[in-house]
């Protein structure tokens, strides 16, 4: 079939395919979904886990828009202790590679989470630096390069688990943030988290203030990957609006080493198969041996050693 061509290495992590299920759009991967071929998934990223259980936001939580949706789920999760005891063992049975997404409202909460996760066998920790609720001032860590540097540095000192920084596109200059994360020792970057947006439900006379995802944000995700690739050496996981197979190719060409599938699965149940097929076809057509060869091919900074 040629799927072996799609093996990748993200730092020291070897993945059978470059498909990573994005945080919050695949739950904990435990639902019984017969149409998904789990062998084609390189890694799962869990819904973001916090130290304390979070109830999440009240309704309305979702609303549809042109080729996309707004969500305001609010990190509903049962907390890290429940997660480790009751959920993680089940994920292990089903997935080869596990990325656990975590978020803290304070630096201390992040450190506590890291200390707990240090005892678990997982493949990577994704730091969700794009939540708008850090400290009293409700900051978003990845909107400040200083804060990004500080938090990543602190966490890096506490753990040897590979770290991924998940960044928000809602910044003036994404390059600065990526550089700060790299300088602080991050192993990988995943972009993008959702784009801030708002919908108005005229029937219910309510607003849904949240994060935009889906096909409509693909150009924003591509632009972020393109810009970040130019300034860092670490691998980039490209996420945002991958709703058909060829969308994934575009992400590789501008600089991604792997891709994340999020709400694309909601609109296209065949998305995983399509991505695999498109990538294999593209490698064959361009006579490329592996995905590394096409990463950044259309980026002016291609050919760097990563």
């Amino acid at each position: 079939m040629g799927i072996e061509k799609l093996r990748i290495k993200l730092g020291h992590i070897e993945l059978k395919t470059p498909i990573i299920m994005a945080s919050g759009t695949f739950g904990y991967g435990l639902e019984k979904i017969n149409f998904i071929d789990y062998k084609k998934i390189g890694a799962i990223t869990t819904k973001t886990i916090t130290y304390y259980p979070w109830e999440g936001n009240p309704q309305p939580r979702i609303y549809e828009t042109y080729s996309g949706m707004i969500n305001s789920i609010g990190l509903q999760n049962p907390g890290v202790f429940y997660f480790i005891k009751n959920i993680l063992p089940k994920i292990r049975k089903k997935f080869n590679k596990i990325f656990v997404s975590i978020s803290g409202r304070t630096e201390n909460e992040f450190i506590q989470l890291i200390k707990i996760m240090n005892k678990e066998k997982i493949d990577a920790l994704e730091l969700n630096l794009s939540c708008p609720n850090f400290e009293k001032e409700q900051k978003m860590i990845s909107q400040s390069s200083d804060l990004t540097y500080k938090i990543v540095k602190k966490i890096k000192n506490e753990t040897s688990i590979p770290l991924i920084a998940k960044l928000s596109p809602n910044v003036t200059n994404i390059k600065e943030i990526a550089i700060a994360a790299e300088e602080a020792g991050i192993d990988m970057i995943s972009v993008i988290n959702t784009v801030k947006g708002l919908c108005v439900d005229l029937k219910k006379m309510k607003i849904i203030d949240g994060g935009l995802s889906g096909g409509c944000i693909k150009p924003i995700g591509l632009k972020c990957v393109y810009d970040i690739y130019k300034v860092v050496k670490i691998p980039i996981i490209g996420i945002g609006g991958i709703i058909k197979g060829t969308d994934a190719i575009e992400y590789f060409l501008v600089g991604a080493s792997a891709i994340g599938i999020g709400s694309g699965l909601f609109t296209n149940s065949q998305i995983i198969d399509e991505v695999i097929k498109s990538l294999i076809n593209f490698l064959n057509k361009t006579k490329s041996k592996n995905l590394k060869e096409i990463t950044g091919l259309l980026n002016e900074k291609k050919g760097k050693n990563r």
Partner: protein, 248 residues
């Protein structure tokens, strides 16, 4: 749950904005009353959920109301065209045997209750089916299972009794052992708050995205220790015990 491409066998206007859609049943999974299908409609991003109304080995039928862009596009689909369908989605109504049961339906709530009533009948339940609609045209007698006692009501009195179906229901002697309801949220709320002495099962219709239990978009708050807990309508539901719902 699976994803199948199913051919449209029929997509017929019942009256006004109501349609009956029949598709090939290409699923190996078994559907139960209360389950819904999640339909991909080209032209809108998210799938659209609809309760299964008719279920046989050969086909699946839904009854839908045209209310927006998705259902508008769906209503133009013709026999022979195909749809990508997820199913069976969600949980199902608990079904017992030899009970006296009441079914209360308003508007499109008729859909899941038709499937439910045919299963209840097989299990020798005594069924009282309260079926409310705006007017006579929206009482779809031709698709109702036979051998069941129906009590009809219409808002304008053009068929059955005049008035709201819940008000009509309350005028009957209430010695039912179980109540099932589907339809507008206001109706479900009233039925749920009406009796705590007997189980009331309702089918919720929250806005949803994935339909597979992945995204936590469609949650409803359920009474549990503490302040309650958000449960997923698409996975833990859409069928819930009425008295457990914390209405927002």
């Amino acid at each position: 749950m699976n994803s199948e491409i199913c051919k449209i066998l029929k997509n017929k206007n019942l009256s006004d904005d109501f349609y009956l859609l029949k598709i090939e049943n290409n699923f190996k999974e078994v559907f139960l009353p209360g389950n819904f299908i999640h339909i991909k409609i080209e032209g809108v991003f998210l799938r659209r959920p609809f309760s299964v109304a008719i279920y046989t080995k050969k086909f699946i039928g839904i009854i839908y109301k045209k209310i927006g862009l998705g259902t508008e596009i769906l209503s133009k689909k013709r026999k022979g065209e195909s749809l990508n369908i997820l199913g069976p989605c969600g949980n199902s109504f608990p079904i017992f045997e030899n009970k006296k049961v009441a079914l209360i339906s308003g508007g499109t709530g008729i859909a899941p209750l038709i499937f439910l009533s045919s299963e209840l009948k097989k299990r020798k339940n005594k069924i009282y089916f309260f079926y409310g609609a705006r007017n006579k045209k929206l009482i779809f007698s031709e698709i109702l299972p036979s051998g069941i006692d129906y009590i009809f009501s219409t808002d304008d009195g053009s068929f059955g009794q005049k008035g709201n179906i819940f008000d009509i229901f309350k005028t009957y002697k209430d010695d039912y052992e179980i109540i099932y309801a589907a339809g507008p949220e206001q109706l479900l709320k009233k039925v749920s708050l009406y009796s705590s002495k007997k189980p009331v099962y309702i089918s919720l219709e929250n806005y949803m995205a994935c339909g597979m239990g992945l995204c936590y978009g469609c949650v409803v708050k359920i009474k549990e220790e503490g302040d309650g807990k958000y449960k997923r309508v698409c996975k833990d539901g859409p069928i819930f015990e009425g008295e457990k719902i914390i209405w927002e």
